[in-house]
Amino acid sequence: MRRTRSAAALAAVVLALTAACSPGEPAASGAGQPVSGGSLTWAVETEPITFNPHQYAQAKARLLVWNTFEALLTHDDKGGHLPWLATGYETSPDGRTYTFKLRTDVSFTDGTRFDAAAVKANVDQFAVEGYNPTVAAVQLRNLDRVEVIDPATVAFHLERPDVLLLDFLSSPQGAQVSPKSLKEAKNLKAGGPELAGTGPFVLDRYTAGQEVHFTRNPAYQWAPANAGHTGPAYLDEITYRFLKEPSVRVGALTSGQVQVIEGVPATDEALITGNDRLTFARGLNSGSAYSYYFNTAHAPFDDIRVRRAFREAVDVDAVLQGVYRGSATRAWSVIGPTSPFYDKSLEKTYGGDAAEANRLLDEAGWTTRDADGFRTKDGKRLTVRLVQSAPFVRDRRDVLAQAVQAAVKQSAGIDLNVALVDQGAATQALADGAYEVFDNSRADTDAGAALNLLLHSAGAINRTGVKDPELDRLLEEGQASTDQAARNGTYQRVQRLTVTDQALILPLYAPADQVAAAATVGGLGFEPTAGVPGSAYHLWLGK
């Protein structure tokens, strides 16, 4: 009696569990030629905190921005800029005025026409108190005013020459939002369906914590020259689902519930590359490499020998292999290897020499050892502190820190003290100078913008404490010059000065994005220069 009843209960549970529908398996063929139509679901790691491109601050959210919004220029893959909503630009001889000719056939999806007044309205919006103080203080610090010359011509007047204006006008923050939305949106800074752009898709539905949905903009006719095709997008609609757990994203892809995922952990790569119904691609990001910056403001890293010793004490290749299983690309410079400014001659010029590390530390007076095997000087242990802010730790950087910690202890007796703390405590430690190592990578499309923040004596993220007039001069020169070859030379000198001569930095790896997809998805790729997954404009679903 009892047994049958429990069996019945079990059957009821099983019945309830199996009652739901079962999603179909995707076909195993390749994507073939581009075809129009269809809807696609893409699982992404990060839910943007805002959909207003002017408020953009998360590199992981970049792939969503260009679906709805577009900028005056876009990046090519050689460090230059291509026309997009602008048809071209001219620079005045003194480098202080940039004049843009605009397309005249473009409308925002709310019906507003795109013209010079719209460009001015977008840039002027940054002058509104509290709208985006960071952009106002960094990207637009040299801007004097924007002038509407005629509906198809707009001029940017600068207080001093600043080639980074072009980078700004190719960036999400420089994207064009309908002036009508700027005036009328209730939650302007949060963005969402009420903000109209000119892009190939319209953001029509956002369910916080779950997904964001885009439908095709049928009137779209103004793709940039490097987009690969013209006219409206292939897909009818695309849904980006927010799945924060890497294993859940991978499972959703392998079971056919989503067609594309972004952010594939190194441990799951083999699962995808070994499956011929799936494709996998990796793109290296632009900007600065993920690096350790040495705080030169106080001991022990005020001594260049100790900085060099720390670098020699780490076998970066071995550490990366251990943590990322060969899926990480080693960095040799503060600038990422895909940047046109990257100085290849720095490769294999330092690092991984334990004997040299020990010689340098002996020379610097850290000759004695304590009971735990760490080096000491005048009874003080050779301790350096790395403070990581937990909300911003990604790519297993906490595990990487532990591997570096073990390496420097074993090969040179350096005590790397790693603390994983909340954002408030991390900011406090930085403000108090209670750190010797600072870790950071930046995804700026123009690496010069990252170096300005990180290395200039007045930089907003200068954590090395370096104040070098020669370095400042070089950085200012790189920002002012409009000549690409001259900029290359300038930034190569910056790299040699900071990486080789002063050993301010231990570059570790080049940040990357990974995309995996069903083989039926065509057009997957990475954005030129930025190196992050591209927008949905290029995607199609093969039959």
Binding site: R2, R5, S6, A9, V13, A16, L17, T18, A20, C21, S22, P23, A43, I49, T50, Q55, A57, E129, G130, P133, T134, A136, A137, V138, N187, K189, A190, T207, A208, G209, Q210, E211, R241, F242, L243, K244, E245, S247, V248, G251, A252, T254, S255, Q257, S389, A390, P391, F392, V421, D422, Q423, G424, A425, A426, T427, Q428, N440, L453, A460, I461
Partner: protein, 304 residues
């Protein structure tokens, strides 16, 4: 009667105020300040800081900000989220329904499963197997239960969709994940209560009146064993709210859990305070319901 209701409402308000104040003080005591959390890991300069301070009126003394907050909260204005730049009322309003759906489904599943298990597994072996399973469920992190259920029922057999708040099919796995540990605890309490009730003299009397073992169990025993279970309602509520943080993360569901997690890690004070006040209010309601449930279950309490 009216006096009793007024007393309840009054003590409820005190609980709300105390919860809001405690949360406020806790965030105030945490290292770093609001400006730090708004800046995040981006560019940081005195000029940027000054603008943020001006925008959010952070230059006023903490006491003034606190009183201002209370005053506006009393009028139903919960402020704006620092991180999301939207009114807190919208942020929470959008996310309330999915969490309530998840919590109710999980609670119903957990309670029903516990009742069935407690009544069905009376035999020696069934009891042993069930007890072991309950213990395993109670001590397994919900995160792991969720991943295992997903791997089997979603990724392997494709029976349920992995994510979102999209119809009943998407609710099953999250609700089961959240409900299983609850069923684990409740079954143990119910079984204990049943054992004790069936040893009581009234059970002997009932049997002597010729009632079947089953009706003794269900009509008399269960009623007695419900009393200790009902006193767990407060705990149940806490388990649902706390568990939803992890469940929503794993299953990509919208909901208050995600909002809370993001708000706490970003020191998004207005959102944290609103969530705390909301949870406290729900807690007051749940405990009042529990008190009423006692009266329904146990007629002796009605007389006194």
């Amino acid at each position: 009667m009216i006096g009793a209701v007024a007393r309840r409402a009054g003590s409820g308000l005190v609980v709300l105020w105390a919860a809001a104040t405690a949360a406020y003080l806790a965030l105030l005591a945490a290292p770093g300040d609001v400006v730090d959390s708004i800046i995040g890991d981006g560019a940081d300069s005195p000029q940027i800081r000054a603008q943020i301070i001006a925008e959010w009126h952070l230059d006023r003394p903490a006491v003034v900000q606190y009183l201002d907050y209370l005053w506006r909260a009393a009028q139903g204005d919960l402020g704006r989220s620092y991180l999301l730049q939207r009114p807190v009322r919208d942020v929470i309003g959008d996310q309330l329904a999915p969490t309530v759906r998840l919590a109710v489904a999980a609670a119903v599943f957990g309670v029903v499963l516990a009742l069935i298990l407690a009544v069905v597994t009376r035999g020696r072996w069934a009891r042993r197997v069930s007890s072991t399973a309950e213990l395993v469920l109670v001590s397994t992190p919900p995160f792991l239960i969720g991943i295992v259920l997903l791997s089997v029922f979603s990724f392997r057999f494709g029976m349920f969709p992995v994510s979102g708040d999209r119809g009943w099919a998407a609710l099953v796995l999250p609700a089961v994940t959240l409900g299983l540990p609850i069923a684990g605890v409740l079954t143990q309490v119910l079984r204990d209560g049943l054992d004790r009730a069936l040893d009581e003299p009234f059970a002997v009397t009932a049997r002597a009146r010729g009632l079947t073992e089953r009706s003794v169990l269900v009509r008399h025993g269960l009623r007695h064993s419900l009393l200790p279970a009902v006193s767990l309602l407060g705990w149940l509520f806490g388990a649902l709210i706390g568990g939803s943080v992890i469940i929503e993360q794993v299953f990509g569901r919208p909901g208050l859990g995600q909002v809370t997690l993001q708000a706490v890690s970003g020191s998004d004070m207005p959102v944290v305070l609103a969530v705390v006040v909301l949870a406290a209010a729900a807690f007051v309601v749940v405990n009042t319901a529990a008190d009423l449930a006692y009266l329904i279950i146990d007629p002796r309490l009605r007389r006194s």
